[in-house]
Symmetry: C2
């Protein structure tokens, strides 16, 4: 795996901070993105599920992306989420990402209607490709049926790869089903497959996976990155076990709120605890349980403050 080929490696679906009045906190966002890159993130998959992207307006997403870039985050590491329910929105966000030289976009299928046909999902992607009409477009499909209620099945991916071979280049597989990730890796050589969790990172890398795009990379990116760098070393499995245990402890709680709570403690900044409805912050008791679990796994809340 060539780690210089962005955005392979660990990509972070960046948490989106809010002020107490629920407005977007662009300053905290930029600072967090810079910290993640300093900690070893290979790319930033801003505006994903962990980012509460679907709780943001289109204008808020565009403004945040522009802010990142004007504050020095290189667009070559950026893979913004741009898939919306409405075709005009997906086209507008995708065009905007390309105009700002982002490496690629992470594309949710339109997720309101359930039980839609693969033909309908194909048409959604095909319309976006055609309307955007830019050969720089690189689409990473975002497969997350537990949230979206619809997803990208293998025959649909095959059809997309056949018709848009240089445009549809990869997938984030957040099915939570390792068998699906395996099938993707085996069926489509060269297709960049990112599991949506670090739990099977080493397994995926050994089968040609591109890395991972994981919520918990918001608070544990250095350790996840080390698994990638040491993947051929004697310690690889032990390092994988450590990040898997950490992930398992965190995902017992609602992921966005849990990651925000951890980050609030790492940075000693309770401003990070704010989520937009329908999400809720962790209750005090849940937070205490989460922190206790992480401490028992030697999660170093303090070290990370020093690296900011």
């Amino acid at each position: 795996m060539n780690l210089d080929h962005y955005p392979r490696g660990v990509l972070v679906p960046v948490l989106t901070p809010f002020q107490g009045d629920l407005t977007v906190d662009a300053d905290r966002f930029v600072e967090h993105c810079r910290w993640l890159l300093a900690e070893g993130a290979n790319g930033l998959a801003v505006f994903g599920t962990t980012s509460e992207a679907n709780s943001l307006s289109i204008a808020e997403r565009m403004n945040l992306l522009e802010r990142l870039i004007t504050h020095g985050v290189p667009p070559a590491v950026l893979m913004p989420g741009t898939g919306c329910c409405a075709l005009p929105d997906s086209v507008a966000l995708t065009r905007h990402a390309i105009e700002h030289n982002c490496f690629g976009v992470l594309m949710l299928p339109p997720f309101y209607y359930k039980g839609v046909s693969d033909d309908g999902l194909y048409a959604s992607i095909a319309e976006i490709v055609q309307r955007v009409g830019d050969e720089r477009l690189r689409i990473y499909l975002y497969h997350i049926p537990p949230m979206a209620g619809v997803g990208f099945a293998l025959p649909l991916i095959e059809r997309l790869l056949k018709d848009f071979p240089r445009i549809v280049v990869g997938i984030k597989d957040s099915s939570g089903d390792w068998k699906n990730t395996q099938a993707l890796l085996e069926s489509f050589p060269g297709f960049e497959v990112f599991p949506g969790s670090e739990m099977h990172l080493l397994d995926a890398l050994r089968k040609g996976g591109a890395g991972c795009i994981s919520a918990t990379a918001n608070v544990n990116v250095a350790a996840i990155s080390r698994v990638i760098h040491e993947r051929k070393g004697a310690d690889a499995d032990a390092l994988q076990d450590a990040i898997s245990r950490m992930r398992a402890a965190i995902q017992k709680f609602p992921m966005v709120a849990a990651n925000k709570a951890i980050l609030a403690r790492i940075r000693d900044d309770s401003g990070w605890d704010v989520v937009r409805p329908p999400l809720r912050p962790l209750a005090t008791e849940a937070k205490a349980q989460l922190f206790q679990a992480l401490e028992s796994l030697q999660f170093d809340f303090g070290r990370r403050v020093a690296t900011v």
Copy 2:
């Protein structure tokens, strides 16, 4: 039931027509809305599931609403859907509806995140109420778990009614579960309950229901309206049976595409067959089966042309 009290009775979740290039066809939309009112619709629940509202941008929804009103559709019959995934969008659409004097709004819960708490859904509605900050606001909750993946459970409704008694005034129940509709009717006297289908219209009316908001009212509103007007007459059950059979025949097919296909035939206008992805138009064979089923039920495609 006082039918003069808008928008009780039959409300139509109006189909949204598109041009061949998938742009919104505002002229066909206005014409369809006027026809529905002429045919007996008591109100228009524009921008619902049947309207492909979540496939429209916020600007497209606002423009269509303004077009309707400037073309003489009275805002007192309008109940636009305004609930989106993103709080700023829901607030903007709701404010816009009130500023244009719409009777009420139909409010989907934020529908991207699944497994969210009632507390989070409560917070979503409460934030909208507070941010809109207008005593003219009338919210009809839109309960459609088969699509949205989240919904308004009875304890949540109870809490909303307690805290916003003059604002949260009704519900469209598209659960497809008559037991849920019954429980709503029995639990909250005075709360305006609209089943999302005409299948149990008479049952609902007899228990104090407000009417119905049904996709198939796009093509069968006169017959549905007659059930309401004749609900105490000797023919009521026979009229109900007739509209139930019609609904049953149509809902064997994807609802939006099926209704558009029927309307295209009624109006002899194939322009009505266009849907936005991820939906697809009915295939030729499915269309033939649908039409045959309706003809065997004496659905009069021709009469409706004459009433336009």
